[in-house]
């Protein structure tokens, strides 16, 4: 029974490692936060040059 449980857990662990192996970020949270910050900075610059500063 324990062996049965251990197997999927280890498979999940592998899946998680595989997931991280496909990213330059150590965690999903840092990836998401960086993506959000960069996107909103870009949006702010776009607003600045297309709406507020023209």
């Amino acid at each position: 029974m324990e062996e049965e449980k251990a197997q999927p857990t280890s498979a999940r662990g592998e899946a998680s490692m595989e997931e991280r192996a496909l990213s330059v970020f150590a965690s999903e949270r840092s990836e998401d936060i960086t993506a959000m910050v960069l996107t909103f900075v870009s949006a702010f610059l776009v607003l600045l040059f297309t709406k507020w500063w023209v």
Partner: protein, 545 residues
């Protein structure tokens, strides 16, 4: 840095790519490639091409020189800039080739083949930068493989794709829903959420991976490719699962596009009913338009209704993103096989970038990027001002045309009145007396615009100058938010980059492993949706939406 810290950093590639980009920038600036750009219809982007190539090429050379001067270690700058740089530049170069050459060539070939085929294949198969990017990535990885120098850069693909998804939120606005009829909102809402739940249930029945089921449910339920791309990171879909979903919905859509008009004609549906059915049952926007035109190319109402239903469906995307984020966390277990608590589902494990997407959607709906009622940056402006008026020459042409009663023969009273009003008010507008009641004024103006579009579609006017004046009058009230246009461009680059990178992670073995199950689930849910929506449309929709 999760991994790859010890990957050997290929030093010279960044400089090489930087030199290629700058050389290309100079070629464009010198005008050497003018004829080619004109042939590809990309000459309007020439300045953008030069600017992007100079900036990115300059960065590439600078990063390359730094890499040569110091051995990349394990610091933040090394892991996030120096090591991925060659791969990032490689993906950017591929994205440029796809955006500026591959995509336009496919469009030109598609238009050239249209007289023979009877349709433009790039529209039907949705061969835009999204699909082309994935295809290029898949072909590269399954032929020459991912070049060693690019391995680290390819790992930035999913991150950039998330930036694209967050930016996608700026294209839609909740205010658009206010312009739509209650029937279409309830009907579409029912079918979007119903299809998503049906696919999730089928996935459980056929025991497909949660990530595959999740991404397929968004694609089948909402609007095809963009929904798939937006929801893929939410349910942590693997690259091949996303590609499989896009393939399934496009193939399904092609079948529907040919089948729907035939069924509609056999049953004897009216233009409104068919528009509502096509807008609900067919997934891809271009395929919806093609089916509507195939059913009735003369009455503009079919296309308009289909578009309304299509737009309504897209506006449910934020809700579906939230539902899937909740569902995925709920069905997932933690590392030791324990189901997650509500707090973990909603707070600890909730994908943060989804909040970015929702926040962008809220900003867009509140009118930060353009008027709140915009859709993909486009909006209608019927206000009285010079930018919405016809030119004096055009007014003269229309005036002479309506002065001759012979010209108005064959037109309905409404059509005649609309033409008279266009001349009287110098533009498409509501009644002058209603100018202070914005809602009424807009409704009247919109009705007039649709009537004019109908006159043109039904070819009731032969005079070229008058047709051109009316077309210009319609064009004058169609405005675009510059901010949303630029944000959309940004999103396109994020998606193109991200999808080439994700395509590179799709191996032949991964596609084989997925088997035919996604196609079966797609076919079952698509058929049920088409049949049920047909019944509902026939029962509920008579003529008005």
């Amino acid at each position: 840095m999760a991994n790859g810290a010890n990957d050997a950093a290929p030093r010279g590639w960044s400089i090489l790519f930087g030199i290629i980009m700058i050389a290309y920038g100079f070629l464009i600036r010198s005008g050497t490639l003018d004829a080619l750009l004109r042939y590809l219809h990309t000459h309007k982007d020439a300045d953008l091409q030069v600017t992007l190539c100079f900036i990115l090429g300059g960065i590439g050379i600078a990063v390359g020189i730094i890499s040569l001067l110091r051995t990349p270690g394990d610091g933040i700058f090394d892991n996030f800039v120096l090591k991925p740089a060659p791969g990032v530049l490689f993906l950017l170069l591929l994205a440029m080739v796809i955006r500026w050459y591959f995509e336009p060539i496919v469009h030109i070939w598609s238009k050239a083949a249209a007289p023979t085929l009877g349709f433009q294949f790039h529209k039907i198969f949705n061969l835009n930068y999204v699909v082309l990017g994935i295809i290029v990535g898949i072909v590269l990885t399954n032929t020459i493989g991912i070049p060693r120098f690019a391995a680290q850069g390819v790992k930035t693909a999913r991150f950039v794709l998330k930036m694209g998804v967050i930016t996608l939120g700026a294209r839609y606005s909740i205010a658009e829903l206010a312009n739509l009829g209650q029937v279409s909102i309830w009907m579409i809402g029912f079918f979007v959420v119903g299809t998503v739940l049906l696919v999730l249930w089928l996935g459980r029945l056929f025991q497909t991976p949660h990530s595959m089921t999740g991404v397929l449910s968004s694609g089948m339920g909402v609007c095809g490719v963009s929904a798939t791309v937006a929801c893929a990171p939410v349910v942590k879909a693997k690259s091949h699962e996303m590609a499989y979903t896009i393939g399934t919905i496009l193939l399904w859509g092609v079948g529907c596009m040919f089948l729907f008009p035939t069924v509609g004609k056999i049953i004897g549906m009216n233009p409104t009913q068919f528009g509502a059915w096509a807008g609900t049952g067919i997934l891809n926007s271009a395929q919806v338009a093609a089916a509507a035109l195939a059913f009735n190319a003369v009455d503009i109402k079919t296309l308009k209704v289909a578009e309304i239903f299509n737009i309504t469906r897209v506006l449910f995307l934020p809700i579906i993103v939230l539902i899937l984020a909740y569902w995925y966390n709920k069905v997932s277990e933690d590392g030791v096989g324990r189901k997650l608590s509500m707090k973990e589902v909603f707070i600890d494990k909730f994908p943060l970038f989804v909040l970015g997407f929702i926040l962008m959607f809220v900003l867009s709906s509140s009118g930060v990027f353009g008027p709140p009622e915009h859709y993909k940056g486009k909006y209608l402006d019927f206000s009285y001002n010079q930018r919405t008026e016809l030119t004096p020459e055009e007014l003269d042409v229309v005036g002479k045309f309506i002065a001759n009663p012979e010209n108005l023969k064959g037109m309905t009273d409404t059509e005649q009145a609309t033409l008279m009003d266009l001349h009287k008010q110098r533009q498409i507008a509501g009644n002058y007396s209603d100018r202070n009641n914005e809602k009424v004024f807009r409704t009247e103006a919109k009705e007039r615009m649709v009537t004019l579009q109908g006159i043109l579609a039904a070819k009731k006017i032969k005079d070229k100058e008058v047709k051109s004046a009316i077309k210009h009058g319609i064009k004058q009230v169609h405005k675009k938010s510059k901010t949303v246009v630029v944000l959309t461009d940004l999103m396109i680059w994020f998606f193109a980059y991200g999808l080439i990178g994700l395509g590179m992670q799709i191996t032949r073995q991964a596609i084989m492993q997925a088997g035919g199950m996604p196609l079966i689930i797609g076919a079952i849910s698509g058929t049920m949706k088409a049949v049920l929506s047909l019944i509902v449309v026939l029962l509920l929709i008579k003529d008005l939406v």
